[in-house]
Amino acid sequence: MSAQDARTSDGTTAGQTESVALAPAQAIARKDSRQRWWRALLRHRTGMIGAVLLLLVVAAAALAPLLAPHDPTQVHFDTPFQRPGTVGFVLGTDNLGRDVLFRMLYGARASLEVGILAVVLSTVVGTPLGLAAGYWKSANAVISRVTDVALAFPFLIIAVGLAAIRGASLSNAVLALGIAHIPQMIRVVRGETLRLKSTDFVMAAVAMDASSVRIVSRHILPNCVSAIIVQATIIMPGAVLGEAVLSFLGLGIQPPMPSLGVMLSDAQQYMSQDAWLGVFPGALIAIICLSFNLFGDGLRDVLDPASHDRK
């Protein structure tokens, strides 16, 4: 998708001339800067490496049901501990004869699922609170205080508390990781809102007697989007790692459901003889996080050029 966009932006100016006649000045400026972003992003080498890795991982996880011919939870007592490379088992089998590769594909799926849901949760809750805290002083007093309290709970403690109350599960992992990242999102959006509040175009809207709600939703929120996206790419690898940790400790996804963390926890007792059982799932977690980190860094450089030198 990104390649296509860039191609149009590199093409003839005919389309642009047309839009000059039709679109208001603001839209052109927006389109122009968007094209510049895409081009800069495509030129960002490590960012693109991350993007390609990310596409591969997402595709593999999305196509898991097609790529894996049989159920990853299916136990085959006749073929335990097959070495990687054995015919029929590319990455070998575990102690119960389950195919390691297929379980990894489904595990990656679960990791991404938890990561995305946690990001959505923290964004959906954090963005309005951040906007309110940044725009209204009275809201700031309450929201910032609560944010401080929330920041005082490490995510593992939230997960521990939730597990004590509701029992360990995938939804608990999502809740714990989502809640844990809300304060960060609030802080980022609040900071952006504070900055935007003093810009000329917001002042102009205030002078034109636009309602506060309209200013926040029509003028401030759209300009916070890039900061929110960058923050989301920071939260995502953290959430993927967090899911693995929780599932590894038995506080997240429960066996026999495949999860990379569960696979590592299962592998722990067999690792001295069959190291591959632990090596592959961990490597996949690292690849997923690495791709998000690389892509996120690239995105940050492009969307926030000021951070480029100081990254």
Binding site: R145, V146, D148, V149, L151, A152, F153, P154, F155, L156, I157, V160, G161, A163, A164, I165, R166, P237, L241, A244, V245, F248, L249, G250, L251, L264, A267, Q268, M271, S272, A275, G278, V279, P281, G282, I285, A286, I287, C289, L290, N293, L294, D309, R310, K311
Partner: protein, 317 residues
């Protein structure tokens, strides 16, 4: 300065107060009758009644909260449901393990992070910077517990460089204690070292481009001297801040690390108490970590205002 610190102390007290309410409310959110949950699954009605009286569950909620607060302040967190040991005793025996581990990891990550950050700035655009960046990227992406498993496998099981598990109290035999803690501390330090490195590098680059550094260089000061006297000193401010912000991660990481290396620490106590539904222990552990986190952040802020004069001015406004 005094006013700034007073404000921060006030804020911290409010935060601790609110956190204690969250912990207290959490215990009341347990499904069903808290007395039944506290008593465990196979409790007799007499035991449930005893627990109800012990925890004052038959009294109004605000009285219960006040009692909870008073007992907590006195270090009385009740008794473990599993073993009957006072919770305070469990904490006293496990906390030092985690504190030593965390302090050791903190030291490693700050030293490694600072060195890598300075190297990355000093050799910008050349291979040492790429190397340092790569280490940081790996540190941020690789799950530390996986690295721990691999480290045990290769360094302990195959080559016997470090012990795979076990703990020797620091007071008993410091050298052997450190030897046992080295591998866990290295594993725990990795992610934090990556964050420290990135922030150090960013702050060094910003400092080295500033006007006063150009002035210092124009006066004839050597680059290496400027690097240490201006760049590094400014980076320390950043490092102190980061350490405060990353403590939560360090605490979470300690729980996992202790679980892998079989260290009898606070994290292990936390996990065991959750899995065995030992609610008084869970309550105490969560409260203690929260309070500790808030207090350390307060200390960080105090330290921050000492090494960075700008914050004193900003805080006074």
């Amino acid at each position: 300065m005094a006013r700034y610190l007073l404000t921060r102390v006030g804020q911290s007290i409010v935060t601790i107060f609110l956190s204690s309410m969250v912990v207290f409310a959490g215990m009341r959110l347990l499904p069903g009758d808290p007395a039944v949950s506290l008593a465990g699954e196979e409790a007799t009605p007499a035991r449930i009644a005893a627990i109800r009286a012990e925890y004052g569950l038959d009294r109004p909620v605000w009285v219960q909260y006040a009692t909870f607060l008073r007992n907590s302040l006195h270090g009385d967190f009740g008794r473990s449901l599993r073993t009957g040991t006072p919770v305070s005793e469990l904490i006293r025996s496990t906390l030092p393990v985690t504190l030593w581990l965390a302090a050791y990891a903190l030291l490693i990550s700050v030293v490694v992070g600072l060195i890598l950050g300075v190297v990355a700035e000093r050799f910008r655009g050349r291979w040492p910077e790429w190397g340092a960046n790569l280490v940081a990227m790996v540190g941020l992406s690789v799950p530390s517990f996986w690295l721990g498993l691999l480290a045990i496998l290769f360094l302990s099981v195959d080559h016997h460089v470090f012990p795979a598990s076990g703990y020797v109290p620091m007071m008993q035999d410091p050298a052997r204690s450190l030897y046992h803690l080295t591998l866990p501390a290295l594993v725990l330090a990795l992610a934090l070292a990556a964050v420290v490195m990135r922030q150090t590098r960013a702050s060094m680059i910003a400092t080295m481009q500033s006007d006063y550094v150009r002035t210092a260089r124009a006066k004839g000061l050597r680059r290496g001297r400027v690097l240490v006297r201006y760049g590094l000193r400014n980076s320390l401010i950043v490092v102190v801040t980061i350490v405060g912000l990353q403590l939560g991660g360090l605490i979470s990481g300690a729980v996992v690390t202790e679980s892998i290396f079989g260290l009898p620490g606070f994290g292990k106590l936390t996990l065991n108490s959750v899995f065995s539904r030992d609610y008084p222990v869970v309550q105490a552990v969560v409260l203690l970590i929260t309070v500790g986190y808030v207090l350390i952040n307060l200390a960080v802020d105090a330290l921050y205002s000492v090494i960075n004069p700008r914050i004193r001015v900003a805080g006074a406004v």
